[in-house]
């Protein structure tokens, strides 16, 4: 079957089998290999993408289901080649080692950023609890997201 959706701001039409996972179509048909498949049953979070702005597991959706929806992958987070706040904070805080989990954390972190709310450390830990990392021990990841989210919210409060 043929589906049309929007991926990282671009309209895309692609031929898929109904049982193909969204994750596989993004990686294999569309070449967006940023997202990773760690577990394929919803637990690790490495395949997280935004669907209409909400974080979802691309290993638990079929590509056939996203016709007419907007998908954002890690490749779509930078704007005009400029890394977003979460991405920059990851670099500053050394929030990755092997990088396997990173796309999922960046997508989840960007979702939090887009909510525009001040979050305490506990709330950030809760929000990131659906993403597993085998390398870093999480502290730098939480530090990075905390800085990105709260910097942005602080700026927004000042502007008001």
């Amino acid at each position: 079957m043929e589906i049309t959706c929007e991926v990282n701001g671009q309209p895309v039409t692609v031929e898929v089998e109904p049982h193909w996972l969204l994750a596989d179509v993004l990686r294999n048909q569309l070449g967006l290999t940023g997202l990773h498949l760690g577990c394929e049953y919803g637990v690790c979070g490495a395949c997280t993408v935004l669907m209409d702005g909400e974080p979802v597991r691309s290993c638990l959706s079929f590509a056939s289901q996203v016709a007419g929806h907007q998908i954002t992958t890690v490749e779509g987070l930078a704007v005009d080649g400029k890394l977003n706040r979460v991405q920059t904070a990851f670099i500053n805080h050394h929030a990755l080692q092997c990088g396997f989990c990173t796309p999922g954390f960046l997508v989840t972190g960007t979702y939090l950023l887009q909510q525009g709310k001040l979050l305490n450390r506990e709330e950030i830990r809760e929000a990131l609890s659906g993403n597993l990392c085998r390398c870093t021990g999480y502290q730098q990841i939480v530090d990075a997201v905390e800085e990105a989210v709260n910097q942005q919210s602080a700026n927004a409060v000042e502007c008001e």
Binding site: Y41, V56, R57, S64, E126, S129, G130
Partner: protein
């Protein structure tokens, strides 16, 4: 792993979905949020021939209050994250909002639905627990018939329900909580977002003097399905202090005979169920007192 091939339909009307279901019965699976079904498909623990995607059905995503019957109706496709913040639920059936906060993680809550969670019938599911505590009803349709199933008649053992192969849940209905009601859910899990080893839900209503007028208590994870604890509820009526609440919570033991597995012994699960019920009751009571102050 990857799912086996299947035929996929995504109907636009409930009637169309029900006719597919009627035609294909057991060889089809309804796909709602996919957060329980797709893991099973990926691991090939389920290999249905047909998938009926209900995500585009209209009229299943609303939360409506019916003041005449004092009920709240929640469409089967309402997502877990909507339950958490919906103002009608927060005001009139906040046990569901409390319960939904404990489900998995944000990316699970953004897709998972109440209908899917009830139909999946996980013994540790928070929504089955909350709807059981509230003595909710499931509104079910097939192509030619319609019925309302009380939740106490719905679950039939681990992952089993009273649904016929051609039936679909289209809504969940609960009675509005009376004024001066407080609700709480407590659970124990090894890691944040995991399924609970044991859980408890309580909705406590107090009278004008602050004594318990009505109690709703259920425990989860300690039996094939969530269990209502009527002895605890009766013992709570008229009480005002925490010592009495703890004594009442002990009666949970009379309602359960927990299983033993690699994760926990039967005794440990029983201990958890009692302790969590006591905590849920304390915290629901405290909230009921706040609600009384506000009333």
């Amino acid at each position: 792993m990857k799912p086996a091939a299947f035929e996929y339909v995504c109907p636009d009307t409930l009637e169309e979905a029900l006719s597919y279901l009627d035609l294909w019965g057991d060889s089809a699976k309804i796909l709602a949020g996919g957060q329980s079904l797709v893991p099973l498909l990926n691991m090939r623990l389920a290999q249905p021939q047909y998938i009926i995607d209900i995500n585009r059905l209209p009229g299943l995503s609303g939360i409506t209050r019916h003041p005449d019957t004092r009920t709240v109706e929640i469409g089967a496709l309402v997502r877990h994250h909507q339950l958490i913040s919906n103002p009608i639920l927060l005001a009139h059936a906040s046990l569901l909002s409390e319960a939904a906060r404990y489900i998995g993680h944000i990316a699970i809550r953004s897709r998972g639905t109440i209908g899917g969670s009830i139909a999946h019938a996980d013994p540790s599911g928070e929504l089955p627990l909350a709807v059981t505590a509230l003595r909710g009803h499931l509104k079910v349709r097939s192509r030619h018939s319609q019925r309302t199933i009380p939740i106490e008649d719905f679950f039939g053992g681990y992952y089993m329900t009273a649904l016929e192969p051609n039936e679909l849940i289209y809504a969940v209905e609960v009675l509005e909580s009376p004024i001066r009601t407080g609700c709480a859910v407590k659970e124990f899990q090894r890691r944040h977002g995991d399924f609970a080893l044991a859980s408890a839900a309580a909705a406590i209503t107090v009278d004008e003097s602050g004594a318990v007028l009505q109690a709703r208590v259920a425990v989860g994870g300690v039996a094939p399905n969530a269990v209502t604890c009527s002895k605890v509820e009766e013992a709570l009526c008229g009480q005002t202090n925490n010592n009495q609440f703890s004594l009442a919570a002990e009666l949970v033991a009379q309602h359960i005979d927990p299983p033993e597995d690699i994760q926990a012994s039967a005794d440990y699960r029983r201990h958890l169920a009692i302790a969590l019920a006591a905590e849920a009751i304390d915290s629901a009571y405290e909230r009921a007192l706040w609600a009384k102050e506000e009333a």
